[in-house]
Every structure is written in structure tokens, then in C-alpha cells.
Amino acid sequence: MSPITRPETAGASGALVEPPLLEVSDLRTRYPIRRGLVGALIRRPRRWVRAVDGLSFSLRRGEMLALVGESGCGKTTTAQTVLRLLEPDSGSVKLDGRDITSLPSRDLRPLRRKAQMIYQDPYESLDPRFRVRQTVEEPMLIHGVGGNHDQRHVLVVEALTRAGLTPPDLFLDRYPHELSGGQRQRVAIAASLVLGPELLVADEPVSMLDVSVRAGVLTLLDQLRRSGTMGILMITHDLSTASHFADRIAVMYLGRIVEHGPAKEIVRDPKHPYTRALLSVVPKRDPRDRTNPQILTGETPNPVAIPPGCRFHPRCPVAEPRCRVEDPVLHRVRGGTIEHEAACVLV
């Protein structure tokens, strides 16, 4: 029934390795800039915001990948394109080995069930007039799954329990305003869990929450992917969080990944000059650890006019003349593990 086939069939033949849960290749998503009437009349050339500009990565089951970068680097556009909330211009997104970029819209529903999104702000993402039980039940009603009323109730209780809202009876009839920020985010997570997703995209899942409860929500996500086959793509600007909870980190700059690899290795032994600068300005918790931040000057880069050559060269502290013309591709770095890649001609 589902147009998305399970990978077991491929594995059973013995010849094929199980494909990654999510595989993104050379993805490009751009937004047109309005020219206005005059612009159109004088045929001013159409300009584009190249938000995602040649992005490739993969995510395995049970894995957490953190996509980090400054605002405007294309993190959120990536998330939306992966979930087909935005249409890409080119490239492919494969979920479970199946290309979803060309799926007709009527086939998107099963995809939506397999891939769920957790939003940044649990104060806005929950309907204030819905009790917790309604919020968590609604996705099942929309997708016409979960059986009858009593069966759905069981699933709601189960999802709340998995999301750490225990005992569930205490929360079922509450409204969002009766919950703390951390509890709200757990309700949002429960509402995505009822559909049994395989891919969870979490866009800054804790940045709106109080410090004291952040760890709890992140630990919950950590447990969810460890306990099952779910893969989590976490979008964050917080490198400390990424280094603690993710298996791998991918650093984005102007719509492209400039470095990726195992989380601890990226943090302890960054190769790309941008990653190095980014890590150097993260405030350390220990007051004695006052390392010299390497503060990059200049504005947050503009994805309308992406520099030629290496896109980081105008802000790069170690750029050479060739960086202005050579557009570096991701390659394995010297002295790194096999998974550690960077797009810089100097490493």
C-alpha cells in the first residue's frame, strides 16, 4: 500500500547493503527575489536567494546528525526541503532508498508519517485550545491511522510515556498554558511519535527552553534514536549541544557543508578555517578556560551574492590567492578519520 518500500526487501536479496535512512545529494533550493513591476518591465534579471546550494549528506538509522551554522546558512531550508515542505530546484532526497523529490503530492502523506518535524518554539507550535490528549491524537486522525477511539487512546498514553510525560493521566487533560516549556516540547515530541516516524527533524528543539530543562529534552531525543530505528537530524546553532548529543556534526556555510565528521573529532580537531573560528568563539563553561576567540569580522554572508571560488574566502583568515578562483569540494582531511571531510584547499 505504501509507495515507500521498506529496505528489508533489498537486504533480503543479500546483494545490497541497507541504504541510509536519509540520503541527500547535491540538493539546491532557491527563492526568487521580487523584482517589482518596474524591474519586470525593464527586464531586470531575476535574482535568487540560493539558500541551499549543492548540499550532500546522509543519516543512518539510530544516528543523530547535527547541522550547525550561523543564521542564513540554509539550515532550516534544508530541513524543510528534506521534508518536502519546500520544493528543491535540483538534487535528490532519498528516504529509505526511495527518491522523494519527485513524488506526486498525493503520495506525500505516507512520507509525512515517516518523517516528522519538531519545531523550535513549543509556545507557538501547540494549539492553545487543544488539551494534551487532542494534540497527540490529532496526527492520527489526520492520517486516518490508529484504529478506533479506544485504540487511539492507548497510543496517546504510550506516546506520552515515551516522551517522558509520566504518569500520562496527569497530563492528558491539560491545556498548553498549564504546562512548562519543557513539558510543552515533550507534548510536541509525543504528537510526532504517535505516527511511528523513522526520521525526526528537530529544528533548534531546545533553544526556547530554560537551561535547567534543556538537557532533559535532549536526553529524550538521544534515547529515542538509541532505542529504535529512528534517525534524528538536529538543526542547531549551539555547538556545545551538538558536541554532546550528536554522533556527527555537519558545519554549513552559505548553503553548503564545509566540514563534517564525528562530533568529538570536529570539536577537538577542526580543520576548516570556518569551523575553527566558529568553535573558538563558543563561550566555555569554565571561567579559567578563556581561550582567545578568533572573531570573524564582516556581516553574516549574503546568499544572494555567493562569492566566487571558495565561498568563505572573503572572511577567511588564511585565504590564499587561489581561494578566490578554486571552489573546493569536500574531501577527506589529512590526519583525520575516514569520515572526516572538509571543503578547503588547505587541509
Binding site: 519543557g182 537551561v211 535547567s212 538537557a215 536526553t219 549551539d238 556545545s240 577537538r268
Partner: protein
């Protein structure tokens, strides 16, 4: 005599149902010129209310008691009458989200000139010159002063908001979450600027934030607030390496560090409601080291050793032995 001195500060808010919320309880701290103090704690702990009180900007539903002195002069004594001459002239504030609160139909420069003329610091050409000098000081080119806020990036707008706060040459700057909505690189730029300003101008800085690493890197001292009161205060280095209140220790443990390998743990539970009387230690229900005395008796903030105050009964247990804070109770 300290430049800024806050003593026994209390703030109550009248609630619509007739009750009262004791938002700030017995808060006190002092600050010298060029010193940087971090005021940290979870949302709702009273840190913003405390600094709004210093500015005399609380709503009419608030009742204030206590003493705030700037260079020895009492600010709150006569209410609005006495606070007006100090506000912006002696003590200025950068509000949370200030970069989004600039007036969109006035140039950035006009918005800096406005408080100058209102407070009769400067006017006309002199004010314009002064405004451009301030902009340059915060890292915005002089000629950009004639531009509108929407032409600025987030980091530039935050710099402009900072220049506005500095318009009347204050001695004390209160900054409420000045970098919270900013990117890490822009955050680093703004923090560097704040440190530079406090060093060069001798500005006393109160940094209100929930971000402990920011305080650890920027401030000399910090005061940790919980449920309206200060539960521990001291040098940031001491607070991190030798906490004397379980809340301080747990707050650091809940904050991931870039290179730290230890587990990051949430603090269970939530802060108590402040519209009813709290018996015992307010942190006791969430504390991993609570014992019977904590339920009965509210600890008071007192000296643990020089330059360090904490409100925790554990400090009486082994008189001066900080090990009581280090080991975690087994469940």
C-alpha cells in the same frame, strides 16, 4: 563606597485575584566602576525585575522596598521623583530584544540624539556629532548613522541599541540578555564590545542572562538567583570550581560544555510559585542534597568565606568543608 549598591530589595506584584507575588526577595549586591557582574538564573527567578527596579521602570502594580544607591545617592527614596534624574544619566539599560525595538521610521542617529536632547546632554550639531562618535565607538561607521534600522543586520542593530543606552554617559549599564537572539559569531563581537566598553569607560556592567558560559567568560563576579532571591554570589571562578549551593552546581551541570565529556543533566521539577509563602528552602524540592532541616528552615544568605555568600544549610554541616557540595547524594 561602591558605584552601584542594591540593598534588601523586595518587589511585590499585585495579582488580579487580590493576591501578591513576591518576585524579588531581599536582593543585594554592589558594583564598582569597571566591574562586571553576572545575574543568572532560570526564567521567572526575578533577575529582570531586579534590574528594572534599579531603572525605576516597574509597572504600577509593583510595590518596592529596599535601597538602591548610585554613587551614594539614593535612587528609590522619592519614587519616580528621585529616579528620573538618574535614569539614563547615571544608569542605563539595554533591554532584551532591544535590537527589535528600534523605531523603524527614524534614522538610527535620530534615535540616539533623542535621549540626549531630552536629558539636555547635548543638542543640535553637537548632539549629532556625539551620536556619530558613539556609533563609531560601538563599531558602526559614522556615515551609517543616517540609515534606518531595517538597513542594519541584527548585530548592527544590537550595537545601535547599545549606543542609545550610552547616549547620556551612564556610569552603570544594565544589559538584559544582550546576546540571546544572536548568532555565536555576532555574540562574540557584542561581548567583546561590552568588555571593551566597561574597561575603557570604567562602566559598571550588570549582565542578566541564563547563559552561564557567557557569564563565565565576561564577568568577574556573579550572583545566582532562584525563586526571587540570591542563593549564591562570588567570583565566577569560585562558583564554577567550588560551588557552595547545590543550585549553582546543578545549573553548571545542566549546561553542556564544548569539550566536556561528563553527562549533562536537567534539574528535575520546577521553581516554586512566588504568590504563596515558601516554608523551608525554596530549592529543597529539586535539591539532590536536601535533608530534614531544609524542609523546616529557610536558609539565609551569609558569608561562607571572604567574598562568597551562599544560602544553604549544607555549609553548616561540615563547617567550611566544601566536600559536602561536591559529592552527590546516592538515591
Amino acid at each position: 563606597m561602591s558605584l552601584l549598591e542594591v540593598r534588601d530589595l523586595h518587589v511585590w506584584f499585585d495579582l488580579p485575584d487580590g493576591g501578591e507575588l513576591h518576585a524579588v526577595q531581599n536582593v543585594g549586591f554592589s558594583l564598582d566602576a569597571g566591574e562586571r557582574l553576572g545575574l543568572v538564573g532560570e526564567s521567572g527567578c526575578g533577575k529582570t525585575t531586579a534590574i528594572l527596579t534599579i531603572m525605576g521602570l516597574l509597572p504600577s502594580s509593583a510595590t518596592v522596598a529596599g535601597d538602591v544607591r548610585i554613587a551614594g545617592e539614593s535612587v528609590l527614596a522619592e519614587g519616580e521623583e528621585s529616579v528620573r534624574s538618574h535614569r539614563w544619566n547615571d544608569v542605563a539599560m539595554v533591554f532584551q530584544g532591544a535590537m527589535n525595538a528600534l523605531n523603524p521610521v527614524k534614522t538610527v542617529e535620530q534615535q540616539i540624539i533623542e535621549p540626549m536632547e531630552f536629558h539636555e546632554v547635548a543638542e543640535g550639531e553637537e548632539a549629532r556629532y556625539e551620536a556619530r562618535r558613539l556609533l563609531e565607538m560601538v563599531g558602526i561607521p559614522r556615515q551609517a548613522g543616517g540609515r534606518y534600522p531595517h538597513e542594519f543586520s541584527g548585530g548592527m542593530r544590537q550595537r545601535a541599541a547599545l549606543a542609545m543606552a550610552l547616549a547620556c554617559n551612564p556610569k552603570v549599564l544594565l544589559a538584559d540578555e544582550p546576546t540571546t537572539a544572536l548568532d555565536v559569531m555576532v555574540q562574540a563581537q557584542i561581548l567583546e564590545l561590552l568588555v571593551g566598553l566597561s574597561d575603557e569607560l570604567g562602566l559598571a556592567l550588570v549582565l542578566v542572562t541564563h547563559d552561564l558560559p557567557v557569564v563565565a567568560q565576561v564577568c568577574d563576579r556573579a550572583a545566582v538567583m532562584y525563586a526571587g532571591e540570591i542563593v549564591e554570589t562570588g567570583l565566577v571562578d569560585d562558583l564554577f570550581h567550588d560551588p557552595r549551593h547545590p543550585y549553582t552546581r546543578l545549573l553548571f551541570a545542566a549546561t553542556p560544555d564544548l569539550y566536556g565529556d561528563e553527562e549533562v543533566v536537567s534539574i528535575p521539577g520546577a521553581p516554586p510559585r512566588l504568590d504563596r509563602e515558601i516554608l523551608g528552602c525554596p530549592f529543597q524540592p529539586r535539591c539532590d542534597r536536601a535533608f530534614d532541616r531544609c524542609i523546616r528552615e529557610r536558609p539565609v544568605l551569609r558569608h561562607v568565606h571572604a567574598d562568597r555568600l551562599a544560602a544553604c544549610h549544607l555549609n553548616d554541616l561540615a563547617a567550611g568543608n566544601s566536600d559536602v557540595h561536591r559529592t552527590r547524594a546516592t538515591k
